[in-house]
Symmetry: C2
Subunit: 401 residues, 2 copies
């Protein structure tokens, strides 16, 4: 067995890792308290790290992702450079060369071993190399300043996302796993406009890293949806420097799943303009694939999202969306619950006043659970969505301008 | 050859057809001028009509659609009864029996031959039979009042949709084809929350009706998108009473295509909260299927829709959406135009100030054309979408309550 303890100061707790950030003038808008967040950040390790990664399925993957993919399989790295405000996407071969140019400059300041870049921001513009390079004079490469680093990678995020777990095994030995993430819009199953950097000092074998990261991403970032679009830059990186010499697979799996799930929920809660988070559980489907299809359509449906925002217990939109998914379903067998409240069944089709009142109360919560039991088989899937408010339109109509 | 002439007063021009409407108390909110539209309407023909139909692909098709489908193949009808404010969907076998109950009452007032019902409104409530039946005393079965009939079937529509063409052949003989439609939201490729009733006095053979309606719907209602959802009640009906004894296939095809396309554009312009209509042409795709996939994703993308509303020439969202569609594409070969303005190509990636100014002007129009040439093959497809405004959220958050 093992114990998982939550620690403050995210990345700073992990042995042998350093992180820092600075502002090079890409981000010009100060926070409400007058402070100005960074726009370029780094995470580095004294020792070369094994790497596991998951990237966007968008066919126009951004230059940093293509740059990563040029490294040989099973390469090790000691450095991640991250910038906000410019995605370095749709920039062609020049966008990849720009990354090499940056790293050539950075190399004179600190030891680099297969450095990785990660970018987020507006699509279609070359990186401002001279501005970015000024960061290299300002970085304190021995800093541990996780909170600022987490803030430096934000775009439309309204709060920083960082998390750290200390995992203690029965023999008293322990390792750390920590992460920072950004993301608040364009969040879609099959990843999101989100960056997530996970570092660990656990002595995890390379093959476990890839297997466990795959499971963790599938059960977290791939299950959240803000608006159904998939970005060019989505990236999840896991770096392990093995410094603690401690490892237990079950403990690591659980800690990693917890980290990615909690970050995913933070991203969803920070969904552009979102006021509530809803779990869409589809069960009793003919098979898991059907359940997934319906669940994801529910978390993406504009009509469902606006009904959630309006706190209208209009289960017709839930049913219609399931019907529209094209999966096997039968209106006589369908049963819908909001939390524990029966909303619809073949026997109780119309919502009476009493149940409608109860449904209103459930929908007023910050989060609740919608369960759709198709009554056909064992297929099940849960995805997580948020409501769509006026502010989503405002944020996205005004972004960039 | 032939001539197509547009006539006022929609359905009223077609020989042998009658239409009317009344308010039975389902619609209680008056218009701004104080008038109150109907909520129940009929279309009837003196002679039995051949019928062609297209219905929603939603698995929870509403009771009226199931009622229609119980008639034998190639049945003839003389009557369509239509109500707004209640969709009679998710009402099970009782919902179908309710329709028979209504027609049993109606039969004492007018001659019925395989009558059809069509409903639109809120999902999940039984039809108020007693209220609906009061319509039968108020109907003037010999009325020709197309404008009011078109208004009686509206839900969130902000204007009525009716159209009539008189088609004159070279020999001087002519026939009519006319339609009314409703629809303003939930509009999605693979049909829409829309009802469309087309009547003609052309002497069209039954087999042509089905063939030509299929083509017309595929090129109109199936290519428009307001928000990506598919309703339980979508219906397109074509009734032909052959009264004119005149027919020409080419002329009929063209007139029918024109009618459905113009109605589809009206529905799109009336998209809930929409301020502009945009054509999304994808060409140069590896095949037509790829082009369709990308085009439809573009017209459904929330990020594209909000960028259109914000009049922001952020082509990155267009490119990202194409990349997210999973089709074959290459950022070096892609070329994007807004109307005739080059927005992106592998050679000209960044939008300079001059072209950005021109792009703003194009986007300020009520409608414009976005062309994405993938540069790979001959596949092409065009779909039509609208922007997403604050009002969409408002209308849909407040619908029903």
């Amino acid at each position: 067995m093992f114990q998982i303890l939550s620690l403050k100061n995210g990345l700073d707790n992990v042995q042998g890792f350093f992180n820092g950030s600075t502002n090079v003038g890409l981000r010009t808008k100060p926070n409400e308290d007058g402070s100005l967040d960074g726009d370029v950040a780094f995470i580095r390790s004294n020792e070369p790290c094994d790497v596991a990664a998951r990237f966007t399925t968008n066919r126009f993957a951004a230059a940093p992702i293509k740059h990563f993919q040029r490294y040989p399989k099973d390469f090790q790295t000691n450095f991640i450079l991250i910038n906000a405000k410019n995605a370095n996407a749709m920039t062609g071969i020049k966008g990849i060369e720009d990354i090499d140019t940056l790293f050539a400059k950075l190399e004179s300041k600190t030891k680099l071993h297969n450095p990785i870049m990660s970018s987020t921001g507006v699509i279609g513009y070359r990186l401002p190399l001279d501005k970015l390079a000024t960061a290299f004079d300002n970085f304190d490469f021995n800093a541990r300043d996780s909170e600022k680093t987490a803030r430096a990678i934000m775009t439309t995020d309204s709060f920083k996302k960082e998390i750290c777990f200390k995992v203690t095994l029965d023999d008293g030995n322990s390792f750390h796993i920590a992460a920072i993430a950004k993301g608040a819009g364009m969040i879609n199953p099959a990843m999101a406009t989100m960056l997530c950097f996970i570092v660990t000092d656990a002595d995890i074998p390379k093959e476990d890293m890839d297997e466990l990261l795959g499971i963790a991403v599938e059960n977290s970032f791939n299950r959240i949806s803000v608006d159904g679009d998939t970005s060019t830059n989505d990236t999840v990186l896991l770096l392990a420097n093995k410094t603690s010499m401690v490892y237990d697979k079950d403990a690591f799996r659980e800690a990693l799943n917890k980290i990615t799930f909690e970050l995913a929920m933070m991203i969803l809660r920070d969904g552009e303009g979102a006021t509530k988070v809803v779990a869409f559980e589809v069960k009793g489907a003919a098979n898991d694939e059907d359940a997934k299809k319906a669940s994801i359509l529910l978390s993406n449906s504009l009509l469902v999202k606006t009904a959630l925002f309006g706190e209208d217990p209009n289960w017709g939109r839930i049913a219609s969306t399931i019907g529209a998914s094209g999966i096997e379903c039968d209106e006589d067998k369908l049963i819908i619950h909001y939390d524990n409240l029966l909303i619809y069944s073949g026997e109780q089709r119309e919502l009476d006043k009493e149940r409608e009142e109860k449904a209103y109360k459930i929908m007023k919560q910050n989060s609740f659970h919608i369960t759709c039991d198709l009554g056909l088989g064992d297929g099940s899937y849960t995805s997580y969505g948020c409501d769509l408010s006026y502010d989503y339109v405002k944020i996205n109509a005004e972004y960039r301008t």
